[in-house]
């Protein structure tokens, strides 16, 4: 798991860690039962204060995304998937919002935008892959 921090962005570092781990779980790169790095290891990897990492893990635990077992580590919880759905929705919503803002600034009509989206999807041949992507997700909801 690689996280990238931007200390100067104004977003507290623990929030950045929480968001990125949420993102990792939402995208399915970590699934139920996977172990997160120890607080110490992650602190040293990111070169941040261990207390900050601890704080992020507590926040994730509070959200129910991970469970912390005394003396053994931090694991992705089974309740991750329903929340992953909303998290995913949230992330995509943000991106779409940004896109819409940009479109408005550049005088792109809504119709032109949807056409462009369709066109790009065909050009990149993404439709097929998107279908494929859903599979692990369905597996999640079964579990």
């Amino acid at each position: 798991m690689r996280l990238y921090l931007a200390p100067n962005s104004g977003t507290p570092i623990y929030v950045q860690i929480v968001e990125q781990i949420k993102h990792v779980i939402a995208s399915g790169r970590l699934v139920e039962g996977d172990e997160l790095p120890t607080v110490r290891a992650l602190a040293q990897q990111l070169v941040v204060n261990p207390n900050t990492v601890l704080r992020a893990y507590q926040e994730l635990e509070h959200l129910g995304l991970v469970v912390r077992r005394q003396g053994s580590g931090t694991y992705v919880s089974g309740e991750g998937s329903p929340l992953a759905e909303t998290a995913r929705l949230k992330i995509m919503t943000e991106k779409v919002d940004a896109l819409l803002y940009d479109a408005r600034h550049m005088d792109f009509s809504r119709e032109a935008l949807s056409e462009l989206i369709d066109e790009r999807a065909r050009a990149l041949n993404l439709d097929h892959e998107t279908e494929g992507k859903r599979t692990p997700d369905e597996g999640d909801s079964k579990a």
């Binding site: 921090l5 200390p7 100067n8 104004g10 977003t11 602190a43 040293q44 070169v47 204060n49 207390n51």
Partner: protein, 303 residues
């Protein structure tokens, strides 16, 4: 180990220091709890080094008091210095010593010196024991100084501008050392820096010095909870600065303004809306923004 009754490793109370008529430190009070990483930030000449020198006993408090690990560093220099790992800003190590001599020399002063650990650190830092210190690069000199500050596992690590003038690799070594120090044994780190990004990364608590005065002191969490950055757009350009008492700092011209606010975000939002502004963006403020806002603010008050 509990350092003092209050649990504070460093306790500075209403410390004032004057050089001639100029106050280098003006009524500074701060407390560093055990096990935390404390960042002291400020511009050049803000008084950071003066404060650090008080902590080391090199300066005697003119008014106020200084306690480090529960002791007065002026009255008991040996008790304090033997438990403080210190890396000076100038890295004034004896250039004529070889790295090996430097370690052996330093070892003599600290009963808790861990020779094996020192050797491991030396290898990790890639320092050749037979090189004279004056032949080391800037980064290597800093590493040699850091090595001597770490090898006796001091309860307090005191770093004065540890990464100024260093390349990214040496800087990372220093930051890692800070993290290892607190992560491993819950020891305390006090460091001064003007590289705010670094402080933001590793500090739990932060104190901002400006012209000898403390303009902010608190946890990073407090700082982020109480400081916000706003993008404001006014329907028509206000004459002069917009009237927003809750703003620490305002910047911009014409219709678009950036504000850094202190205190409750909702109150500022109401204030801004009442002033007729449209809020086009709102996010947390970074340490750098807070620092610039604070220092700018103080400078305005000065005038």
């Amino acid at each position: 180990m509990s350092a003092t009754e209050s649990g504070n490793v460093i306790a500075v109370e209403s410390l004032t220091r004057k050089f001639g008529r100029k106050a280098a430190l003006d009524n500074v009070s701060l407390a560093v709890p055990e096990g935390c990483v404390y960042g002291l930030v400020g511009g050049n000449g803000a008084g950071k080094t003066t404060l650090v020198k008080h902590l080391l006993g090199t300066f005697k408090a003119q008014t106020g008091s200084v306690r480090v690990l529960g002791e007065d560093p002026v009255r008991s220099p040996v008790e304090v210095l033997s438990r403080v790992g210190y890396l000076s800003e100038d890295r004034d190590l004896p250039g004529w010593m070889r790295v090996r001599d430097w370690l052996r020399y330093s070892e003599a002063f600290y009963p808790a010196w861990d020779a094996e650990y020192a050797e491991r650190l030396r290898e990790r830092f890639g320092l050749d024991p037979d090189t004279r210190i004056k032949r080391l690069s800037r980064g290597e000199t800093a590493k040699a100084g850091l090595l001597a500050a770490l090898a006796f596992r001091p309860p307090l690590l005191l770093l004065d501008e540890p990464s100024s003038g260093l390349d990214p690799s040496a800087r990372r070594n220093i930051l890692e050392a800070i993290i290892r120090t607190v992560a491993g044994e819950g020891r305390t780190v006090f460091f001064s820096s003007h590289l705010l990004e670094e402080v933001e990364r590793v500090a739990d608590r932060v104190a901002m010095l400006h012209q000898g005065r403390l303009v902010f002191e608190g946890t990073m969490e407090d700082l982020h909870a109480t400081h916000h950055r706003w993008m404001l757009r006014f329907p028509q350009a206000p004459a002069g600065h917009p009237n927003l008492p809750g703003a620490l700092h305002l910047e911009g011209d014409g219709q678009d303004w950036t504000a850094v606010s202190e205190g409750d975000a909702e109150r500022f939002r109401t204030e801004a809306l009442a002033a007729g502004a449209e809020i086009t963006g709102h996010s947390g403020a970074s340490l750098e923004e807070v620092f610039l806002a604070r220092v700018g603010h103080a400078a305005v008050l000065e005038d």
